[in-house]
Symmetry: C2
Subunit: 238 residues, 2 copies
C-alpha cells in the first residue's frame, strides 16, 4: 500500500519476504496448522453425522464434511509446492488440535452443530485475520479454504429449531459455547508458545510487519465480538 | 439373451419389468440399502482415519472415505429420479446397518482396515451379484458405485506390514474377520426377512427371474470363496 506520492505507508509489502527463511517457516506453520485443522474437522463432522436425528440431516452433514477435505487437499498441495513435507508440516499441531477435540467431544447432535458453527467460526475469523499479514498467494489460499461450506446456515437453522422446541437446552448450550472458546484459546496459546516463527509472524518481529501488540489486542476484540454475534444468531448468550 | 433362432433362452429380459410396481419397489430397496451402506461407510472410514498411526495414513484414509460419499450422492440422485424419497428409501435399512457397525466397532487401526477391506469386499461382491439380475440402468449404477475406491490396496499393504512386524496379531485378526462375516450374514438375513420385494427380486418370484434357490446357494459359495481369498491376501486364515 502506498499513498499517491509513492512513499511507503505502513509495513513494507510482504511479497518481499517470501525468500526469508523465517517467514517461509512461518507460512509453512500457518498452512500446516490450517491443513490439520481441516483434516480433523472433516473426520469429526463425518463422525458427528451419525448423531443426526434423521437420514436427511445425516446426509446433509456428511456432504458438508467433504468441503473440509477439499480444503485440506488444496493446503497439502500448496505445502508440497513450497517444498515442505505436508505431513511433517502438520505434525507439530496434531497434539493441540486433538487435545481440543478430546476436551470438546459433543454429547449430542445439537452440541455437535454448535461446536461446528462456533468453533469453525472463531477459527476461520482467526485465519482470516492472519491472511491480512501474509503474501498475496498465501492470503488467497487461506481466504479460499476459509470460505463458507454451507455448514453455517444449516447449523443455525437446526439449533434455533431445537431451542424453540425445548427452550431449556439454551442454558446448557450457552455454557457449551463458552467451554469451546475457552478450550480453543488455551490450545492456541500453547501453539503460540511452541511455534516461534508463527508467533512472530503474527505479532511481528524486528524486520517483519505484523499485528503488533496493540493490533493483537484489537484482533482478540474482533474475534470476541464476532463470537458473541454468532452465539446471538443461535439464540444463545455468549 | 436369445440364441440364433431368436427363441428366448433363460429368463425374460429384465428391462420389461421396469413398469412392474413390485420390481420398482425392489429396485428402490436395492438402491436404498446401497445408499445407506455408503453413507455409513463414509462416516466410519472418516472417523477411523483418526486411528491412523501417522498423518500421512490418516490423510490417505480420509481421502478414500470421500469416494463413498460420491457414490452415495449418485445413488440418492437416482432414487430421486425414480420418484422415491431418498431418505425414506434408506430408512428401512438404517437399523440393520447401524447394528452391524455397533457390533463390529474396530478396536484399533489394523482392525479398522481389515473391516474396511473384508466388509466392503463381501458387500461389494453381493451387490455385484444382484446387479446381474436387474435392468441395465440399475446394473450400471450398482457396478459404478461398487467400483474400487483405492482402499483395497492401501488396506492390504498396511495390514500385511503390521502382521510382518508382529505376527502374533494374525490370530486376533483372523477371528475378527470371521466375526465381521458372521455379523454381516446375520444382518443380511434380517433384511431379507423384512423386505419381501427385495428378497423376491433376488430369489425370483412367480413372474420374475431371479437367482432361484440353487442360484442363491451358488452365490453364497462364490461370496465365501472370495472372502477366503481376501483373507489370504491379508495373510490371514479365513
Amino acid at each position: 500500500m502506498s499513498d499517491i506520492t509513492g512513499a511507503p505507508e505502513g509495513p513494507p509489502p510482504v511479497e518481499a519476504l517470501v525468500d526469508d527463511p523465517v517467514y517461509r517457516a512461518a507460512v509453512i506453520d500457518l498452512l500446516g496448522v490450517l491443513a490439520y485443522t481441516e483434516l480433523v474437522a472433516f473426520e469429526r463432522l463425518a463422525a458427528d453425522a451419525s448423531l443426526a436425528p434423521s437420514i436427511a440431516d445425516e446426509a446433509a452433514l456428511a456432504l458438508m464434511a467433504t468441503a473440509e477435505i477439499r480444503h485440506f487437499t488444496r493446503l497439502a498441495e500448496r505445502l508440497a509446492e513450497l517444498g515442505a513435507d505436508p505431513a511433517g508440516a502438520m505434525q507439530p499441531f496434531a497434539e493441540p488440535i486433538l487435545e481440543f477435540h478430546a476436551q470438546t467431544a459433543p454429547g449430542d447432535w445439537v452440541e455437535s452443530l454448535v461446536k461446528a458453527y462456533v468453533g469453525d467460526g472463531i477459527a476461520t475469523d482467526f485465519y482470516r485475520e492472519v491472511a491480512e499479514i501474509v503474501d498475496p498467494e498465501t492470503r488467497d489460499l487461506v481466504l479460499e479454504v476459509c470460505g463458507d461450506t454451507g455448514h453455517a446456515n444449516f447449523a443455525v437453522a437446526t439449533v434455533r429449531a431445537a431451542i424453540e422446541q425445548d427452550p431449556r437446552i439454551g442454558g446448557r448450550l450457552a455454557l457449551w459455547g463458552r467451554r469451546l472458546v475457552g478450550e480453543a484459546m488455551s490450545q492456541a496459546q500453547r501453539v503460540a508458545a511452541e511455534r516461534d516463527a508463527l508467533a512472530s509472524l503474527i505479532v511481528g518481529g524486528m524486520d517483519r510487519p505484523g499485528l503488533g501488540l496493540d493490533g493483537l489486542g484489537a484482533m482478540f476484540g474482533r474475534l470476541t465480538d464476532n463470537h458473541t454475534s454468532r452465539m446471538q444468531t443461535l439464540g444463545l448468550q455468549a
